[in-house]
Symmetry: C2
Subunit: 148 residues, 2 copies
Amino acid sequence: MDAPLLDIAEVARRSGLAPSALRYYEKRGLITADGRNGLRRTYRPGVLERLTMITCARSAGLSIAEIHRFVVARPSDADLRARMTARADDLDEQIGRLTRLRDSLRHASVCAHEPIVDCPDFRRAVGNVPREHGTADADTPPAPAPPV
Amino acid sequence: MDAPLLDIAEVARRSGLAPSALRYYEKRGLITADGRNGLRRTYRPGVLERLTMITCARSAGLSIAEIHRFVVARPSDADLRARMTARADDLDEQIGRLTRLRDSLRHASVCAHEPIVDCPDFRRAVGNVPREHGTADADTPPAPAPPV
DNA sequence: CCTTGACTTGAAGCGCGGTTGAAGTCGCAG
DNA sequence: CTGCGACTTCAACCGCGCTTCAAGTCAAGG
């Protein structure tokens, strides 16, 4: 069974990440090199899947630290399982926001309002339901910007 | 018609953003204060909707600079309309990624793999379809991490 | 063996998105 | 009128996620 080990340049090329980023991820514990050939890192091909997952999670707004927690997780870690479901719930909300923003952008791109972003339809889609007269709502304990 | 102007503290409270962030957004051209009472900024209530939109866009990964472009856009700006639809397409992809990541997290939270993130189901859901034997694919010109 | 050049390390630097601090201004209650 | 404290500005600073640089190592080709 050949396990054709990859060097860092190859992994960089296939993953689309810079070598410096790969070293950085290793330092932060997100990936591990299989071994060394002299000084040079050698990677198992599986690292590519790991990197795809990491890139995906990063694009979802997860911090390196949080991804690290998932990566080092052992099945017995009930605490982490809770974090995972919590994260999944966060993602649900974010998916909703993104969907609304996407729809708003699509509308804005064909609408004729002066500052385009102030189009009522745009705003409604983003999630604003402007009060009909004035600001009737006393206080709005707002969604406190999720500290990713 | 009363337009009950708001002071920065009120806007901060209702928007959930720090006053410093509001000043920063103003400096970057994302919002404008209606006027001043002495030195103090006064805001029209409409700024709150603007801020909701901004927060939404930020959470979607748009940079301040890009939001600024949308904010200053005039309907005649065809170039910008193109950017908007392009952004909407980006968001579609991102929504897909997030959905997969969410499903993966939900699965991982009930699965018993050693490094949980290496569960085959998890990886498949994130978008990896590991080759059956070895890495048969010669080169993988990869998704070049969208430079948000 | 000798060169070459891709790799190694650690530290410093960068851009972003704000926050913090110092020093000053001023609306408003008393 | 006086004083308090919430506002103002501007510059410096911070954490994150890398990138860049300088200096060194070493595998492999000639």
